[in-house]
């Protein structure tokens, strides 16, 4: 019953972006179109197509927030492409499901991202104003204005950098369960606020929070090929990961090197484990709490492991090293 409810919750959000194979007819330097109730998409060509030239492209297209049938989505994209007079739909690649991933993994709470970027603190504005007023008054004295500018710059940078909690605008988490069926697939989830850039979208499930936010998809011929934007919203990209020979147990780390890690015992006490090297048993650690944005409402009564992978580890899950990849597992 619980599993059925979790599965229902996990499947509520519809994928908002799909890959479409289209044929473009020249003369054309690019196409752009709107999809009713979903957003817009654009194809930017490096070299314009000449008259009579035809070429096939894979482009990212937005899908409506409300889950519709594949036929209805195809009809929407066909109509949008028809409005450009330069392109026609060949095939709308169905959004990939997360087959084999347990409902518990899919229903886990997402990392809590900040709802905005860094912002100018009033204290820094005060420093800037005071420095500017003094430098205007002393503008004929070069040494004084130079020294003042340097001092104000350092002070403003310190105030911007040093005040306030760090804002998380992107997160990568590999969700897993320990001690379950051998070979059970994991779930790699990447969340990014506002914009998502990628070279592949066909084998991923892309959702948007809030689900009704309009999405603009730009496709280019050079890397990164796909750029998805939704101002004020968060993109959540999920894909299935096969564990292969990797495994993690208290006896041995056969997974990868962790820069930092934490463990919550079933009784609810957290321990900061620190670095956990490949091949080592779980270090003892000392009492300490993990970053709060990683542990929103995780289940009680079982152990929770959190680890930040070293750069270059598990690079099959995500492209690039920014932001770092976290591993979150229950039942270690």
């Amino acid at each position: 019953m619980i599993a059925a409810v979790l599965l229902l919750v996990a499947q509520t959000a519809a994928p908002r972006v799909a890959a479409a194979r289209i044929e473009v007819n020249g003369p054309c330097a690019g196409i752009s179109a709107r999809v009713e109730g979903a957003g817009s998409f654009e194809l930017v060509l490096d070299q314009p197509l000449s008259a009579g030239e035809r070429k096939t492209f894979e482009v990212a297209v937005p899908l409506p927030a409300s889950p519709l049938s594949a036929e209805w989505n195809t009809k929407l994209i066909t109509e949008a492409l028809a409005s450009t007079a330069h392109a026609a739909l060949i095939e709308l690649v169905p959004a990939r499901g997360l087959d084999g991933v347990s409902a518990e993994l899919r229903a886990r709470p997402r990392a809590a991202l900040g709802d905005h970027g860094a912002r100018l603190p009033w204290s820094a504005l005060f420093v800037l104003g005071a420095a500017f007023a003094i430098s205007l008054h002393q503008r004929r004295r070069i040494v004084v204005t130079s020294a003042l500018a340097l001092f104000a710059s350092v002070a403003a940078v310190v105030l911007v950098h040093g005040l306030g909690a760090p804002l998380i605008s992107a997160a990568r988490i590999v969700e897993m369960r320990f001690g379950e069926l051998p070979g059970e697939p994991w779930l790699a989830v990447e969340a990014r606020r506002g914009v998502l850039r990628s070279d592949r979208i066909a084998d991923e499930r892309i959702e948007v929070e809030p689900s009704f936010a309009p999405v603009h998809c730009t496709t280019r011929e050079s890397s990164p090929r796909f750029e998805l934007t939704a101002p004020g919203a968060t993109f959540v990209r999920s894909r299935t990961l096969q564990p292969g020979a990797r495994r993690l147990a208290r006896e041995v780390n056969a997974f990868g090197a962790f820069e930092a890690s934490w463990l919550r015992e079933p009784d609810g006490t957290w321990r900061a484990i620190g670095p956990w090297r490949l091949g080592d048993p779980l270090p003892t650690g000392k009492p300490g709490e993990p970053p709060g944005w990683l542990v929103p409402a995780l289940p009680m009564g079982t152990s929770v492991f959190l680890g930040r992978l070293a750069a270059g580890e598990l690079d099959l899950a995500f492209t690039g090293s920014d932001p770092p990849t976290w591993v979150r597992g229950l039942g270690l």
Binding site: T84, A118, L128, R140, S169, R197
Partner: protein, 201 residues
């Protein structure tokens, strides 16, 4: 740059940061290779520091250096905000140094040109045609002729890239090469110095 222009530049350069603070602007869409706050802040300083002056305006020696120093705290703050929001540190520092150099050089060109009527004319013509006009021409092509059958002309892009204003706009959206704009500014300074030689007129 005289005090009224400095005040306008200071207010204009802080406007993007204050609008972002108020939630009107959102620079979250910029990638790690972009410095959106720094690019927009530098735009105001570069535009006003290099603005051609009227011949009747009183001359202030070393005002170009004063302009650069007045812009430094704002540029440093914008750069720090970019880094805090995910921009690469090395890229943000490099962009800030280039922005400061452009503010100083545009101010220096305006100050060198101020000495004589000929140099003022040459400076004003180059500034308005190349540094201001070319980016606006490019923007007109970009936004006005975006139809798929009209690709962006390469010569317009090349001309616009010689403007430090275009560089700061590009820096706000992604990586931008500063070398063309730097070379153009050095040439402008040399022209202003050449035509501005001799007694003031």
């Amino acid at each position: 740059m005289r005090p009224p222009a400095s005040i306008v530049a200071w207010c204009a350069s802080l406007a993007p940061l204050l609008l972002e603070r108020a939630g009107v602007l959102d620079f979250a869409l910029a990638g790690p290779a972009a410095a959106p706050r720094l690019g927009l802040c530098a735009l105001a300083w570069i535009a006003l520091a290099g603005l051609p002056c009227a011949g009747s305006a009183p001359r202030e020696p070393h005002s170009w250096w004063g302009s650069a120093m007045a812009s430094l705290p704002v540029l440093a703050t914008a750069s720090a905000l970019d880094v805090e929001s995910g921009a690469a540190l090395a890229h943000a520092i490099r962009t800030a140094i280039w922005a400061l150099a452009f503010v100083a050089l545009t101010g220096l060109a305006a100050e060198l040109a101020h000495r004589r009527a000929t140099s003022r004319g040459v400076h004003a013509a180059v500034w308005l045609a190349v540094f201001l006009g070319a980016p606006m021409f490019a923007a007109a092509f970009h936004f006005g002729a975006r139809a798929s059958a009209f690709p962006f002309p390469t010569f317009v892009r090349s001309l616009a890239n010689s403007s430090p204003l275009q560089w700061s706009l590009h820096a706000s959206t992604g990586a931008a090469s500063p070398y063309t704009a730097f070379a153009a500014l050095v040439v402008l300074c040399a022209l202003a110095a050449h035509f501005g030689r001799g007694a003031e007129a």
